[in-house]
């Protein structure tokens, strides 16, 4: 970090919940950031804060100079001599602060706190998150019985100071459940629970931690969170909310976590992967991060406006994700609570001015995109390449072998005599008399007007762009037979030849194209892998008549087909088209003529024509070549099917100006260059424009005060349900003060020094006693520490939406544990996308395995998120989400009760209960309950389930068709070998266990 400037006088407004209650023990020194700032911001700064426009009586309580200078309201160390103390303790309505009309009276505790702070010297502190990182000394914990981990030392020290005994360690079942959810997003299977519970070795827990961290589900679980931060989705968000392919980025995130990619590298690849030397495909995919913002193709959208929108979106996201900052407000004005200025906002955005992008996109494309051969495809391609090589290796030997037999073939052909004469049928010569429908200009010209090949006329066609003439629907279509070839004579003007020419055949469709020359004829262009499109190389020679010949089979027309039309197309230039039609002959005319000569009388050209015709038509060679062609087509098709993903591509940076009040139409603001927020220093790059890579490198410097604090705090929040600093989305002035700042800083330093090792950091946390404590609040903590500031217990919270789905799928056995790949579509109510347009959309749920994939792979439609995910608080991913809300609503109940996904899971679980749960109902109930919550049921619970089972068994016995309806929900195979009535009754039991609060809660 270069010259981190934390201005001593600069204290930024924090708005907080009231100062932590018991946290201020009488014998602890008062700290400004922890204790005083929250009171001042909540009660005083509205009038006496940093917003210069509203400051009252010229008094800024956020500036230490302002309050302690001569005549200031605070005399450090002398509360009784301080005007501030007099005013806050005053009962005089005229003098009292804060004034009654603000409705923000100070509590007695707060008054005392301010008095104490002044008595202790009224020391101000710079905002904690901007101060340089230093490794705090490990505190001593005098009452510890065992050696404590550093995490525990920090936590237990606080507990000791507060005189609070922590909650006991959780039982083993709770522990494995907690750890499995936290590290993999999935519950443990009953077998895994048994193994752990019965593993009496000292390092049983450590082994479990390692096993879970090595699971490929770990990356999926971490991705759920990361994708919220970076607002990954499968659609563009604005207006028509069209699909966009960026799932390779999602898979990159999963793989990166699984490979334990160091966080600095992870960060660098996302911000600037494309700028790394010889960027790999993976690094380019990672750079797709910069383009995950919402985009539009709405008709009236102005590109300039939307470039400004994308710009601001990106600044908000980059600052939130990597800096824990909320820079959004600085789009229109200097930040009111943090030292971020408008200039900072636009200068940070300027790092991204080099991205190739469009304000308004079209045609569902979001260039630049690259094709990403994902693993499965790479394997297929490799196999086909091997096969191709084998086939091609046969060519030379086969050719040699066949040439040995050429003489015999020649003799045979000569013997057949007349039969080999080509019979030509002319379809068009000097007039358009094919019948059917015609189009384009048929400009017949005579020999005075231009070259003519046969008859009296040819057809002149000239243009600066795409031009064609054609006929179709001829009343006497040509029925194809082996050896039949279409031809047309063409003469390209040597001065002004077309860039490309195309001959097209119609067999009911025009999708049969032969192209010579450039790639300019975009209409109908298809990949070579597509059977109806063939490129025949460069243009034929100009200034002479050339016969173009086409084997219809090469254009994908079946031998039994009929052809009813031909089209003559060119791009630009001048060409004369003449005689067109088809010929049928085993041997073309020139070959037939050469054959009549003895082999030593033939010219070299004639010999070659005979030889090549022979080789091209002789059965074994045709067969081999067909196999090669087919294999190549297949290989190319596989390659072409590689998914695309949006990436970053650097171009000449566009000019970035400060937009006054954020107004994109106002060009009067200063032009800015890329730079980091001024109060955090300077990149000191003078000789060139700073790049995204420079920004990334700055973020990854070990001295950066924000990067590691932000990430460590977020990782902690995944493992405790809250951050050490509760505002995981904002470590700035508006954020909360960390409840254990030294712990946070220690972890942040540890993280950097470990080489930004995420798994190491997670292991460090989960191995602590604090992590392993019970989540049940001990009575005294409920009132003393309701928010769990002290971490005297674990957190307890509902699972994330995706995991709620995963639990049902895993428990029922339906879960398909494939990592990565295209996003998938679970069942969804019909018509849910009815409000979408351009294009209108029909949702088709996946069939087969893809129906049962983890929630993280669900198609993320930003404007209409899957109702199940939405009900359970998954965000739309339009903006960064660092902390999901965790609601508890009737819509969630309706989803778990009635969504076909959960009903299907229940009936499949029911089949497992019957097959795997044992002989007796009691065993089966025990099995079912354990499958869902990992524990055996208490008697009362078992009784409840059993009585439900019995009632429903009776009901479904009387209503077999209802039973059948219930046990056939969803696509999964129906267990026809099981008694339907029993299966239905067990389905009811399964529905109950899948709906339990505990099933979807992490304790």
């Amino acid at each position: 970090m270069r010259s981190l400037e934390v201005l001593k006088c600069c204290f930024f407004l924090v708005v907080l919940l009231p100062a932590s209650r018991s946290a201020i023990a009488a014998d602890r020194p008062v700290r400004f950031n922890r204790d005083v700032r929250p009171v001042l911001t909540d009660k005083c700064f509205a009038c006496h804060g940093p917003d210069a426009e509203t400051v009252a009586g010229d008094l800024r309580l956020d500036l230490s100079d302002s309050v302690t200078s001569e005549g200031g309201v605070i005399v450090p160390g002398n509360p009784e001599g301080s005007e501030l103390v007099r005013r806050i303790f005053s009962n005089d309505a005229e003098e009292m602060m804060p004034p009654a009309e603000t409705h923000k009276p100070l509590t007695q505790t707060e008054r005392e706190l301010l008095r104490r702070w002044i008595a202790e010297g009224s020391e101000y502190e710079a905002h904690w998150a901007y101060t340089p990182l230093q490794r705090p000394a490990l505190p001593e914990v005098t009452n510890a019985t065992d050696a404590l981990s550093p995490v525990d030392q920090f936590i237990d020290r606080r507990l000791m100071e507060e005189g609070i005994a922590p909650a006991p360690l959780a039982d083993r079942i709770t522990l494995i459940r907690r750890l499995s959810f936290d590290l993999t997003g999935l519950p443990p299977t009953p077998q895994e629970v048994d193994e752990f519970v019965n593993d009496l070795s000292d390092d049983a827990y450590g082994k479990l931690v390692n096993r879970l961290l090595e699971s490929s589900h770990y990356g999926e679980r971490m991705a759920i969170y990361w994708l919220d931060l970076v607002r990954y989705a499968d659609t563009v968000g604005y207006h028509g909310d069209q699909d966009v392919s960026q799932f390779p980025y999602r898979d990159y995130v999963i793989d990166s976590f699984n490979d334990n990619k160091p966080y600095d590298q992870f960060l660098r690849e996302q911000l600037a992967g494309d700028l790394l030397p010889e960027a790999t495909i993976v690094q380019q995919v990672a750079s797709g991060y910069n383009r995950l913002n919402q985009t539009t193709e709405e008709g009236g959208a102005q590109a300039k406006e939307y470039l400004a929108i994308y710009f601001a979106d990106r600044v908000r996201n980059v600052s939130q994700v990597f800096m824990g900052a909320t820079m959004g407000c600085a789009q229109c004005h200097d930040h009111k609570y943090d030292p971020y200025t408008m200039r900072d906002f636009y200068s940070l955005g300027a790092f991204f001015a080099d991205l190739e992008e469009q304000g308004k996109y079209s045609a569902r494309a979001r260039p630049p995109e690259i094709q990403v051969p994902i693993k499965e495809l790479q394997q297929q391609i490799a196999a086909l390449d091997e096969k191709l090589a084998e086939l091609k290796a046969q060519l030379v030997p086969l050719r040699q072998k066949l040439l040995d037999a050429q003489k015999e073939w020649e003799a045979e052909v000569l013997a057949e005599g007349e039969e080999n004469q080509e019979v030509e049928t002319v379809w068009i010569n000097d007039a358009q008399d094919t019948g059917g429908e015609t189009s384009g200009t048929w400009d017949f010209v005579s020999a005075e007007q231009g070259p003519v090949h046969s008859g009296d006329k040819s057809r002149r066609q000239s243009s600066n762009e795409l031009v064609q003439h054609f006929f179709m629907g001829a009343p006497n279509p040509v029925t194809l037979s082996p050896g039949l070839r279409f031809f047309v004579w063409v003469h390209l003007d040597p001065e002004n030849p077309p860039k490309a020419i195309m001959l097209q055949l119609n067999d009911g469709s025009w999708e049969h194209r032969a192209v010579w020359g450039s790639d300019d004829i975009s209409f109908g262009r298809r990949p070579e892998s597509w059977a109806g499109y063939r490129r025949f190389g460069s243009l034929p020679d100009t200034g002479q008549w050339v016969r173009l010949e086409i084997d219809p089979a090469e254009l994908g027309i079946q031998t039994e087909g009929t052809v009813n039309g031909m089209a003559f197309t060119q791009f630009g230039g001048l060409a004369y088209w003449d005689e067109a039609g088809w010929g049928t002959a085993k041997v073309p005319r020139n070959v037939a003529d050469a054959l009549k000569l003895a082999s030593n009388e033939r010219t070299e050209e004639q010999s070659a024509a005979v030889r090549e015709h022979y080789l091209a038509t002789v059965e074994p060679m045709v067969e081999l070549k067909t196999r090669i062609a087919e294999t190549e087509t297949e290989r190319n098709a596989v390659e072409a099917s590689a998914p695309t993903t949006v990436v970053s591509k650097s171009v000449a940076p566009r000019e970035i100006r400060i937009l006054p009040r954020g107004n994109w139409m106002d060009d009067s603001g200063d032009i800015v260059e890329p730079s980091i927020p001024a109060f955090l220093g300077d990149l000191n790059i003078r000789e060139r424009r700073a790049t995204r890579l420079d920004l990334a490198n700055w973020l990854c410097e070990s001295e950066n005060p924000l990067t590691s604090r932000v990430m460590v705090n977020r990782l902690w929040s995944l493992l405790f349900g809250r951050g050490i600093c509760q505002s995981v989305d904002d470590l700035g002035g508006q954020g909360t003060f960390p409840s254990n700042p030294d712990l946070l800083d220690w972890l942040a330093v540890e993280f950097v020094e470990s080489g930004w090792d995420i798994k190491y950091l997670i292991r460090t946390i989960v191995m602590s006693n604090a992590y392993q404590r019970s989540s049940r609040p001990i009575p005294e903590l409920k009132s003393a520490d309701p928010d769990n500031d002290l971490f005297a217990r674990q957190g307890r919270f509902r699972l994330d939406a995706e995991m709620v789905r995963d639990v049902a799928l895993l428990t029922s056995g339906l879960l398909v544990e494939k990592v990565g790949g295209e996003s998938v579509k679970p069942y969804q109510p019909a018509g849910y996308y009815a409000q979408l347009n351009f294009p209108r959309r029909e949702y088709a749920a996946n069939e087969g395995d893809d129906q049962y994939r983890r929630g993280v792979y669900t198609h993320w439609q930003r404007t209409f998120l899957h109702p199940m995910l939405k009900a359970f608080d998954a965000p739309s991913r339009e903006e960064c989400t660092a902390k999901r809300s965790r609601s508890n609503t009737p819509l969630q109940a309706l989803t778990l009760l009635n969504d076909p996904t959960f009903v299907e899971a229940a009936r499949v679980l029911a089949a497992r209960i019957m097959r795997e749960g044992g002989e007796h109902a009691d065993d089966q109930i025990n099995w079912a309950y354990r499958a869902a919550v990992s524990r055996s049921p208490e008697t009362a619970v078992a009784d409840e389930l059993k009585s439900l089972f019995e009632r429903h068994l009776e009901y479904f016995s009387d209503h077999p068709s209802e039973a059948k309806a219930l046990i056939t929900e969803g696509n999964a195979p129906v267990a026809t070998d099981l008694n339907a009535v029993e299966l239905a009754a067990w389905t009811s039991v399964a529905r109950v266990v899948l709906n339990l609060h505990e099933t979807i809660t992490r304790y």
Partner: protein, 468 residues
Amino acid sequence: MKSSMFLNPSAECQLARRTFLRRTGVGSIALASLMKTTIANAATPIHHPPRIRRVIHLCMAGGPSHLETFDYKPELAKHDGQPMPESLTKGQPIAQLQGQSLKVLGPQHEFARYGESDLQMSTVFPRTSAHADDLCIIKSMHTEQINHDPAHTFFNTGTAISGRPSMGAWVLYGLGAETEELPGFIVLTSEGGGQSQPISSRQWHSGFLPSRFQGVQMHSTGSPVHYVRSPAGVGREQQRDVVNAVSRINSLRNAELEDPEIITRISSYEMAFRMQTSIPELADVSGEPKHILDLYGCTPGDGSFASNCLLARRLAERGVRFIQLYHRGWDHHGGVKAGVATTASLVDQGTAALLSDLKQRGMLEETLIIWGGEFGRTPMAQGSGRDHHIKGYSIWLAGGGVRGGMAFGKTDDFGYHAVEDRVHVRDFHATMLHLLGIDHRRFTYKYQGLDFRLTGVEESRVIEEILS
């Protein structure tokens, strides 16, 4: 309960508390700590006596032309086909007409005066115009977003940035609902009469407010609310059985864990079960008498705007706080004459019926009806149509606390700029909240540690002049 809500600062908690006590049957074990969470999230107290209890927003999506509906501009007819004065258009944002020559298009429909108040309106609303004396037409609306998607987001949330709560969510957060059987914020949609521009659930999302405040979409086909029907083969009794078993086991577990979330979960299941009855009952209008169906001119289940109006009345009766009806069909870039006539004909009868029906039940005076789109349309022609326009357009309000038979504000002679008594979208928000008893300046939510003003940081004012 209804009146007490307006008097008691923590009304929502009170409601929640009573609801829980009445329903759960699991006793009051952890209610105290549960209430603590609720209180932390509860709204700023209601600020002054409200004039209305609910809002019905008839969102005319696509942007109806004010020049063919509520803002008569004879000057336009005079200049029809002539270039638009550059003094009006220079430097102004423009959508699809960017870079084209701008020519005036005269009004495409006749206007007439209606009611005792002689309120001037286009003739395309033969039935709604009969209610002229109840309407307050604001002719000086202006907004900041010129394309559909951001303009809808702006009208609903006060900003074009995604992720902020919608006004329906604000109101539900501030006031709660008056129903324990239904969601408090419900959205219905219909389309027809013009190109159906997409809309986004962002428009009824709760943003950073807790998700229980988000709008719930009702559908005219399939299940009226997602997952409100029991699985095939499961009757009401069996579903009851399952829900009871879930709640009893949850409750047994709570004896061990003392987790307030379990109590809430039990209550959520109870409400979910009730919704399984109340929502289909609500959606089934077959019990409505014939004269009512005739009044709306709808056939049950036809998915029309009129059907949705009828449902809106039923929702209002049942205590739903915020009801939003989208009709997608006002985007008349071409053929504005026929287009406005067609779309108007699709919404006219339903709108008029809703006004009549609420009135005859004494409910109009406690309801605010809002009729309008995300923006208006250009005085300039786009072929035979009009482009998007944001500098001046019209909406109307009707119902409690609003003066009827009134036109407020003016645009210039060309219907381009709002020039008199200008009403920004934010002013409209402030006014709506005012009618609900909420002072927008003091209506906040703790977000990112900040007392976030839901209507945004920009200043806005209550339009006192239109209040009765």
